[in-house]
């Protein structure tokens, strides 16, 4: 994985010193809150309901064991012994003191991490496929481009005060695990007929108040043109994106209002005007970065592991976990391990410092020292030998990390909601917990099969409810929480925005409503048909009838 060189180190150190100085000026009164707020947000520090919250960037979701251990140390030393992994592959600490924040940033800098641009109207942490570098279906590892874009977007002087926040996702595989169609910019790597690699550039997707699937502005952009082309897009957005209404300020609204064709021609005109030589060097730079992401030295192993097969026969719990939580690795004899941070009745995405250390140990011992954070708020060990899976499973089991529900009904995405977040209109976590308990029976989850339930506590949609197969949005009706259910969303390559089913539900009614929806699915599904496929075949009607007939 990427390692900082002297320049990266110095850059982050200077930035941390700058923030220490800004914090001192705020505490002494030299800066007002209005002046300080944008500065702290650009360094990931929010003021939430109970305290400050620090959001730490985990670029493209990749961590080493040492970094994960440092995250655990921060949780113990400056927070309350835990952290929350987010849908942007980041981690948040909920109980941070302003006066401690500069020390925490120093502590992160020691392990080549920072909180730069995890908030603010700038280019946010670039996300990617959490199976990058390991997935069987991958064309190329998208993380070198992720790192290139991290560097390019860090304190970009032209694009630090955009109309609104800006999110970029990158995928190098045909099966889209990075939700590139619902990002401000999505980049999808593919090969042309000649076997050359290029990028499909998708613009104007997004969730929030106005969910939209992005449009393709370039089918096949050569890699060395990426930065120049992205700058052209950013400049068109910076100049012409709406600034009169923050709910209409994302790039998707600009694309929608002027039309995809006009937008595209504005970008092409801007790109043609630009002096291109300044992007030339980045090809060399990309080669330098890519070297850090060279695949580890995999052992030559048989595809079939006798010890793994025997262990499954002897241990049904392990067999079930292996069936649900492993992903296909591109190298024989290896698996991708998905660690679910969704124990029954737990808080989606939360991990204790102790659990973080266990995962760090496992990565160092069995996983080429690599961990990933997925946008579904789980942790991935991308390269584990099949022979080692039982040992990994047992260690996970000992620390409440062995939930065998990856990709199933219990694997719920939920934002922190009103329990923590100052913007939320309703709680998300208790709803996730009640659904998780309702479907605690593992046989039932297996029977239901692949399912994404996504919950957001407000219209900003951090819980990606629009693209959940089942989406749940918490709203406030005269001081009471209520929840709207959408069906049929997807963030995969065939992305779609969910449809609102009907009137909302009180918090305690949501789990029953989900059960009704899933019973309806089980009744109507054809053999082997997943929930989303059944919904797409039948539409909302049978679900509506089942849900509202008795009400």
């Amino acid at each position: 994985m990427y390692r900082y060189d002297e320049f990266d180190h110095q850059f982050v150190r200077e930035r941390t010193n700058q923030f220490r100085n800004q914090t001192e000026r705020r505490l002494s009164g030299a800066l007002t809150e209005d002046e300080f707020r944008p500065l702290r947000l650009m360094n990931g520090l929010y003021l939430q309901l109970h305290a400050y919250m620090l959001r730490v960037a985990i670029p493209y979701g990749t961590l080493s064991g040492r970094q994960m251990r440092q995250l655990a140390l921060i949780a113990d030393k400056w927070d309350k012994g835990y952290g929350h992994f987010t849908t942007r592959q980041n981690i948040q600490y909920n109980w941070v003191k302003l006066e401690d924040a500069p020390d925490i940033l120093d502590c992160l800098a020691e392990v080549e991490m920072h909180a730069i641009q995890t908030s603010g109207n700038c280019i946010r942490n670039v996300t990617t496929d959490h199976w990058a570098g390991a997935a069987a279906d991958e064309i190329a590892d998208p993380r070198p481009v992720g790192e290139l874009l991290r560097q390019w977007s860090s304190l970009h002087p032209e694009f630090s005060f955009l109309p609104r926040k800006f999110k970029i996702a990158v995928t190098g595989a045909p099966h889209d695990r990075a939700a590139v169609k619902v990002h401000d910019i999505g980049l999808r790597l593919h090969k042309n007929e000649a076997g050359a690699i290029g990028w499909e550039v998708i613009v104007g997707g997004g969730l929030g108040r106005t969910p939209m699937v992005g449009v393709t502005v370039r089918d096949f952009l050569p890699q060395h043109e990426l930065v120049g082309y992205l700058e052209a897009i950013m400049r068109v957005y910076n100049l012409y994106g709406r600034r009169d209404n923050k709910y209409k300020a994302r790039i998707k609204i600009l694309v929608h209002e002027i039309g995809a064709d006009t937008f595209k021609s504005e970008v092409e005109a801007e790109y043609a005007r630009r002096p291109h030589p300044t992007t030339e060097v980045e090809e060399r730079e990309l080669a330098r970065i890519a070297a850090y992401f060279a695949p580890p030295a995999f052992d030559k192993l048989p595809r079939w592991s006798a010890s793994f097969e025997e262990a499954k026969l002897a241990n049904p719990g392990f067999a079930r976990w292996a069936k649900n939580n492993l992903g296909p690795h591109r190298v024989d004899g290896y698996s991708i391990v998905n660690i679910s941070l969704k124990p029954e009745g737990g808080i989606p995405g939360d991990a204790t410092a102790e659990q973080m250390r266990v995962m760090a140990d496992l990565a160092e011992r069995y996983g080429n020292d690599e961990l990933r954070v997925s946008h579904a708020q789980n942790i991935v060990l991308p390269h584990v030998r099949k022979d080692d899976l039982l040992a990994v499973y047992q260690a996970l089991e000992n620390t409440n990390l062995a939930a065998a529900n990856y990709g199933l009904a219990g694997d719920i995405i939920a934002c922190p909601g009103l329990d923590y977040c100052a913007l939320a209109t309703a709680r998300s976590i208790p709803v996730a917990q009640s659904i998780s308990r309702k479907f605690a029976d593992s046989k039932r989850q297996d029977e239901i099969g692949k399912l994404k339930i996504n919950i957001s506590g407000c219209i900003n949609a951090c819980g990606h409810h629009h693209v959940g197969h089942i989406g749940i949005l918490g709203l406030d009706k005269k001081g009471e929480e209520f929840y709207q259910i959408t069906l049929g969303g997807s963030s995969a390559e065939n992305a779609s925005i969910g449809t609102i089913l009907g009137p909302g539900f009180a918090g305690h009614e949501v789990a029953d409503a989900i059960e009704t929806i899933l019973d309806t699915y089980l009744k109507h599904r054809e053999a082997g048909e997943e929930f989303l496929a059944t919904y797409r075949r039948l539409g909302p009607k049978p679900f509506k009838e089942a849900l509202y007939a008795t009400a």
């Binding site: 505490l27 809150e33 939430q48 109970h50 003191k97 006066e99 808080i347 208790p430 001081g479």
Partner: protein, 113 residues
């Protein structure tokens, strides 16, 4: 005997550590909502808010605002669940926040699921 007064209190976050605090009669800030002073008249509320603005300038607190609340038998209940949550801590982690430190308010946020 039940006594009830409806009015407004001022809440803010302490600048240093971000903890939710409530303005008391003495002009100090308390972590406990039950110690908040309740303004029963709009003029009194404006005066409280003015005092809070001064404390913002002195960098004691930040983001002060008025909240509808009720005093019932000497304990304070904020009208909105968001504020009851701030007075207690997260409903999903009863082991954390004011509720765990003996500073919890009497009136729970909504029931857990």
């Amino acid at each position: 005997m039940n006594t009830s007064e409806k009015g407004q209190l001022v809440t803010a976050n302490r600048l240093r550590d971000g903890i939710a605090v409530f303005l008391t009669r003495s002009g100090a800030w308390s972590e406990e909502i039950d110690e908040a002073v309740l303004a029963l008249e709009p003029e009194a509320a404006a005066a409280l808010e003015g005092r809070a603005r001064e404390d913002e300038k002195k960098t004691i607190v930040t983001g002060a605002y008025l909240v509808d609340a009720e005093r019932l038998n000497g304990r304070v209940r904020a009208a909105h669940i968001r504020e009851r949550m701030r007075a207690l801590g997260p409903t999903v982690r009863l082991d954390l926040g004011k509720q765990a430190e003996g500073k919890g308010a009497a009136f729970a946020a909504p029931e857990g699921e």
